[in-house]
């Protein structure tokens, strides 16, 4: 027996999925209550349970997505940080980019958040120019004095961020050595390690954030790895990173910043895997839980961004491009401005939760509306552990919405769903249109507890024709972890005009980075044959200050560089709608991703049977808008459906982790992997 385990730690629940390699099947789906205050407690419980059920020898791989880094940042629970910076540039971190962002009309726009006090910034003489050449030598006394001051202040981590260190890290490395000698064991991060790219503010802010979360997060990762390795002697424990790859505690110890988006990425990776299996190129993921919805556009490959803002901290770290809005089962509906129905972003949260949880909540939420509409059954939620108080849902909708708006409870509940769906539609339009895509050319993949329940309404409003609902959508993110690989990235800023570039030099630059990455991954006990690398170049027209990432292969001669230029023009055209073939092109950054391949679970397709018939387990009255009114919808148990079964809406599929609602006229087919394909 050989088991792979995916563990997705969320704010409310921790989802566990287990895949048995021999049976080629998912054999374990389980939800634990999360314990944000003491995350190790839950992991210990899970480890004990798994060892008991499958035996310690059986578990070969555990992938784990965690909100540890994210929560440390959002809840201000990091350590006291000091910063060494170039003399004359003490305030690069505090000044930021002097930008209010989109809060143009907020007269009280908040400042960028600082993770340290100004007195914890110490200046060091020593200056490089743009090419990395030394203009002024590094002053060791300044470093020693600065470190002494910081240690007296009681810092637990020191960030080092000097100007132009991306072009030449020598000064930062020397400073790092001095700190290590003066304070062995202190957490130290160099900006040239954390984010060796230009733009001093973002690089500095990322390095400071990395230090802020560094000690607690690496401590957690280390303890977790120890627990898992001790419990499961054959196990490789890995952590999901923001870029959708995985890494070991050792790989992440100095750069925990790479895990800030560890939570939501696995669903995107899992969706891509499903899309590949089914030959679907363009996907939009829609992951909805209690408080928020995560969405990503996947035009063939997942899209990445190199910077993400978390609680107003800009973090430069490669991240799967995911957008989040405040729309979920707990989103609260209210009547505002004497007659406008608003839904979210305020949420009833896990406590008291929706009115129908019967824990004292009186404000109507999306979940309450769905109970009123008959889309959710009072008994189907949370694996039947909790019954919903349907009368409380009706009462909240009546008191807070229907009565003040002089409409029926059903109409008001439909309004809640309509407004929330419209909010999701506008967000999805934004992320597609922004990148030059038309959402109508995409297939929607809904998951999370609430995604499949409301996705058909969203698809209709968005103009999307097809949906693909994975099995066990409520724990799909944990499943997505099982199809990921180990990733290690390296990037470097170096301004190289393409016209004058020497092919051999460009090749050597990439090759040197690849050599380092492969060596790192070999230390993670990957044999060479399971390793490969991907290259990309950040390119721009001269004078632009943003870059387009262009993938490329080996550079053996001028022709390869010419081809790179052609691909850049093409990529620029796709993204921006025009190109400028006579402009000078610069390569600005070099990026290499090392991939250590992990065997993927092999899903066994079950042939579709033409004679497959779906038998409903009952019927219930459900409302589908003024056009249809209330209809008797057949209710199916999803686990009893076999490939080939076809159902025409209205219908409702209930399963352990979610409820799928099929609208009138939509047709759902069970595919050979037990996904539901829905067309309208």
């Amino acid at each position: 027996m050989s088991m792979r385990i995916g563990i997705d730690v969320g704010g409310t629940f921790t989802d566990v999925t287990g895949f048995d390699d021999q049976l080629a099947e998912v054999v374990l789906i389980r939800k634990y209550s999360s314990n944000p205050a003491e995350p190790m407690r839950v992991m210990q419980q899970i480890a004990t349970d798994l060892a008991g059920e499958f035996g310690p020898e059986a578990v070969s791989l555990i992938l784990h997505g965690s909100t540890a880094a994210l929560n440390t940042l959002l809840e201000d629970k990091g350590v006291k940080v000091g910063l060494l910076t170039t003399a004359g540039f003490r305030d690069v971190y505090e000044i930021g980019r002097q930008w209010r962002g989109e809060e143009v009309f907020n007269i009280f726009a908040p400042p960028p958040k600082m993770l340290l006090e100004r007195r914890a910034v110490q200046e060091v003489r020593g200056r490089l120019d743009w090419s990395g050449a030394e203009v002024e030598p590094l002053n060791r006394e300044d470093i020693e004095r600065g470190v002494r001051v910081l240690l007296e202040q009681g810092v637990e981590a020191i960030a080092v961020a000097f100007l132009f260190s991306y072009a030449n890290p020598a000064h930062e490395r020397e400073a790092g050595e001095i700190i290590k000698a003066m304070a062995p064991g202190l957490f130290v991060a160099l900006s040239s390690d954390v984010n060796p790219e230009w733009r001093e503010y973002e690089r500095t802010a990322s390095t400071v954030a990395n230090c802020y979360i560094g000690p607690p997060v690496s401590h957690y990762l280390h303890n977790l790895e120890e627990l898992l390795v001790e419990t499961f002697p054959n196990c490789r424990p890995l952590m999901m990173k923001s870029d959708g790859g995985a890494g070991s505690a050792t790989m992440l110890a100095n750069k925990p910043i790479q895990t800030v988006m560890s939570g939501p990425v696995a669903g995107v990776i899992g969706s891509r895997y499903l899309g590949d299996l089914k030959g679907i190129e363009n996907l939009i993921t829609f992951d909805t839980g209690g408080t928020s919805s995560d969405m990503a556009v996947i035009p063939n490959r997942p899209l990445f961004k190199s910077e993400v803002a978390v609680g107003r901290h800009p973090l430069r770290t490669q991240t799967v491009d995911i957008d989040t809005i405040g729309a979920g089962g707990g989103s609260i509906a209210s009547v505002e401005l004497s007659g406008v129905l608003r839904v979210g972003p305020r949420s009833a949260g896990a406590w008291p939760g929706p009115a129908c949880y019967d824990r004292g909540g009186t404000e109507p939420t999306l979940t309450d509306a769905l109970v009123v509409l008959g889309h959710l059954s009072p008994s189907a939620l949370l694996q039947g552990d909790m019954r919903l108080a349907s009368d409380k849902a009706w009462q909240a909708v009546r008191d807070k919405l229907a009565t003040p708006l002089a409409m029926s409870e059903t109409e008001a509940a439909w309004g809640v769903l309509t407004v929330l769906a419209n909010n999701c539609v506008t967000a999805m339009r934004t992320i597609t249109v922004e990148r030059g895509y038309d959402p109508r050319e995409f297939v929607l993949v809904p998951f999370g507890g609430m995604g499949p329940t409301i996705a058909s309404k969203i698809a209709a409003d968005l103009g999307v024709e097809r949906l693909l609902v994975p099995r066990d959508p409520g724990t799909f993110s944990a499943w997505g972890m099982l199809v990921t690989d180990v990733h290690q990235e390296m990037s470097q800023t170096r301004l190289v005009p393409l016209d004058g570039a020497e092919p051999a030099e460009v090749e050597a630059l990439f090759a040197a980075m690849e050599e380092r990455i492969l060596a790192d991954l070999e230390r993670e006990s990957f044999p060479r044959e399971r390793l490969h690398t991907l290259r990309s170049a950040g390119m721009r027209y001269r004078g632009q200050s943003y870059e387009v990432a262009v993938p490329l292969g080996p550079i053996t001669g001028r022709a390869d560089l010419d081809q790179l230029a052609a691909r850049f023009h093409e990529a620029h055209y796709r993204r921006y709608g025009h190109m400028a073939q006579n402009e000078t092109i610069d390569i600005v950054s070099f990026k290499v991703t090392g991939v250590g391949e992990i065997n993927k679970p092999v899903l066994t397709p079950v042939a579709r049977r033409d004679d497959a018939v779906a038998e409903p387990v009952g019927h219930r009255s459900a409302y589908f808008g003024a056009e249809h009114g209330r209809l008797e919808a057949a209710v199916y148990r999803r686990s009893s459906l076999v490939p080939g079964a076809k159902v025409t809406g209205p219908a409702i599929f209930e399963e352990r982790t979610s409820t799928v609602v099929l609208y009138p006229g939509q047709v759902a087919t069970v595919d050979e992997y037990l996904n539901l394909e829905i067309e309208r």
Binding site: G88, F89, R90, D91, E94, I95, R97, Q98, W99, R100, E102, V104, F105, N106, I107, A109, P110, P111, E117, R118, R119, D129, W130, V135, L163, F164, Y166, W198, R199, E200, V335, L337, S338, G339, V340, L341, R342, L405, M407, W414, G415, T418, V419, N422, T426, R429, T430, V433, E434, R435, G436, G543, Q544, S545, Y546, R575, Y576, G577, H578, A580
Partner: protein, 576 residues
């Protein structure tokens, strides 16, 4: 109109405005579009009333409203489906300055004209006496670039090629300038499709009815807010511009009062006579940022639309004044008077609703540009940076350093990007100690940047203000430190510069230092919590001397402890 459609149509309209913005960002050519985001899209109903806007530059909305209505008057009965209008003339149809170019497209459903889409985008060059067009010492409008009265740039869906040729012949950067104008036209066309989908889905009358209702909602909500303000006249609040860039000796006064009466807000603007240099401001521009301020103060969570305008009126000084200039007075430095006028309007508002308005910010934001030949390549370069001072203090918190609260929202240029491209070395970039206006809550600090010239020769332009008159702050605060720029500081060649400099030639190893003013303070600095003063001293925001002088807090330089007795004495003396 039911509660659900009211929200859904409203959000869908805002989404179209957002998509227009994203589309322009995506397809615009110039770095002005892509980096500075110096453009704004808005949607208007058939009567030319603003209903929605994308992420805006606050200074763009007012001109757009005026221009849509100018187009409606000018082309009544001559507007056809597929037409698009272009205009940039500051006097013929109200514009900030000529480098802001507007494109407006009518929206038809069948034969009926039901709405307009309009946008303004700043152009990198449109001719005129200097590269970049906006000349700091211009003395009339005709030196400030090509003037385009309201004309059709697209007729029946086809580009007006004659006009295109005319525009391209009058700019130093035809490809980029036309690339941006074309993106403006094409993005409007995208918006036409999206609005048609919205009208098809919900019906023309339902959509127009929803827009109308939202204007009513904003009006009603604002009416409730105004009802809480005691009637009366607040102000006048007075402030000054340093000079007009031509006559460097003379300062220029602007003032604002607010009269609250009969459920309406009436702003009374006044100023000195119009300036010879380009610091004059067209009335539609000030009218708009006053409406923006009203929205920011009273309805922070509601959209900007025509409903606000119904309860806000503005009166101006007679034609021929700085705030109501006569054609062809130059206007290209309109951001300077906008900043100072914003400050006096904020002060008048703060007197009316004391807890809800911050003290005015530095109003010192501005730009430094330089041009020359790069020693490494021999090619011409042109470098451009924008900086902010600090915001004003809030009634409950200190101001934010290096930020503006209304007019300017443009990023700084990273030192590493700057030095990689231009022959210059930045020697300092830091907050200026003691630059903030002292108060119970202090203003945000201004920044100081210092450049060393590495090219043989470089001609610089400085476009800013506040070297002579800094933000006075509110309610017994002390004034902030003014800005200053110094050439070769700390050397025998040291000399101060004025706030407006055109074409000053600098040479290799010349050093230029520019320090920006801080934001205004809020309340009596002697009432500031001594612990906060101590923390400011420890962190270097305030010097020990200023702590004593401005705040009456005596701090021991050795251990940064507060001398309670000495502090008490100082503060009691001050009170007496």
């Amino acid at each position: 109109m039911n509660a659900i459609e009211l929200e859904v149509i409203h959000q869908s309209t805002l989404q179209i405005a957002r998509e227009l913005t994203l589309n322009m960002l995506r397809t615009g050519y110039s770095t002005i579009i892509k980096e500075s985001q110096d453009f704004t899209f808005a949607i208007f109903d058939r009567r030319g009333r603003l209903v929605a806007q994308g992420i805006p530059q606050p200074l763009h909305i007012g001109p757009l409203v005026a221009q849509v209505n100018e187009i409606r008057r000018n082309f009544a009965g001559r507007t056809k489906p597929g037409d698009a209008f272009i205009v940039n003339h500051p006097y013929r149809a109200c514009q900030n300055h000529a480098t802001d170019v507007t494109v407006i497209s009518p929206v038809f459903m069948g034969e009926a004209l039901v709405a307009y889409i309009g946008n303004i985008a700043h152009k990198p060059d449109l001719g005129g006496k200097v590269p970049g067009t906006n000349s700091g010492d211009a003395t009339d409008l005709f030196q400030e670039g090509l003037l385009i009265p309201p004309l059709k740039i697209q007729v029946g869906g086809e580009i007006n090629e004659d006009l295109r040729e005319m525009i391209c012949a009058n700019t130093r950067t035809p490809e980029v300038t036309w690339g941006d104008i074309n993106a403006q036209i094409k993005t409007n066309n995208y918006g036409l499709e999206k609005l048609a989908e919205l009208f098809d889905k919900y019906g023309v009358e339902a959509v127009l009815g929803c827009w109308e209702r939202w204007m009513d909602i904003c009006e009603e909500e604002l009416r409730k807010e105004i009802a809480r303000i005691p009637e009366g006249v607040y102000g006048p609040e007075i402030d000054y511009l340093d000079d007009d860039g031509v006559d460097l000796e003379r300062s220029h006064r602007v003032s604002a009062s607010l009269e609250v009466k009969g459920g309406k807000l009436h702003f009374i603007l006044d100023s000195d006579a119009q300036a010879r240099g380009p610091i004059n401001l067209r009335p539609c521009v000030s009218r708009n940022f006053i409406e923006c301020l009203v929205k920011m103060v009273f309805l922070p969570n509601l959209p900007v639309n025509g409903g606000l305008s119904r309860l806000v009126s503005v009166s101006y000084p007679p034609e021929g004044s700085l705030l109501n200039p006569r054609f062809p007075a130059p206007v290209n430095m309109y951001v300077r008077p906008s900043q100072i006028t914003t400050s006096v309007v904020m002060r008048a508002l703060a007197k009316a609703v004391p807890g809800r308005v911050p003290a005015p910010g530095s109003a010192a934001g501005g730009s430094l540009s330089s041009a020359g030949r790069h020693p490494a390549t021999g090619r011409w370069f042109s470098q451009y940076e924008i900086f902010n001072g600090g915001t004003g203090a809030r009634p409950f918190a200190d101001g934010v350093s290096a930020m503006d609260e209304l007019v300017v929202n443009v990023m700084n240029t990273p030192v590493e990007a700057l030095e990689s491209e231009f022959p210059v070395r930045v020697e300092r970039y830091e907050l200026a100690t003691d630059s903030a206006g002292p108060g119970t809550f202090r203003g945000g600090l201004g920044t100081r940047r210092q450049w060393r010239i590495l090219s043989d020769e470089s001609a610089i332009n400085l476009r800013t203000d506040r070297f002579k008159h800094a933000s006075p702050g509110l309610f017994s605060a002390l004034p902030a430190q003014p800005s200053r720029a110094v050439l070769n500081p700390g050397t025998p060649e040291e000399r101060p510069l004025t706030s407006k400099v055109s074409g000053l030639r600098l040479h290799k190893d010349d050093v230029l230092s520019w320090q920006l003013a801080g934001g205004g303070g809020w309340g009596d600095p002697y009432k500031r919590d001594p612990e906060r003063v101590r923390s400011d001293v420890i962190n270097g925001y305030v010097s020990i001397d200023a702590a004593r002088r401005d705040y009456g807090v005596v701090i021991d330089p050795d251990d940064f402890s507060i001398d309670r007795l000495a502090t008490g004495k100082l503060r009691v003396e001050e009170a007496a």
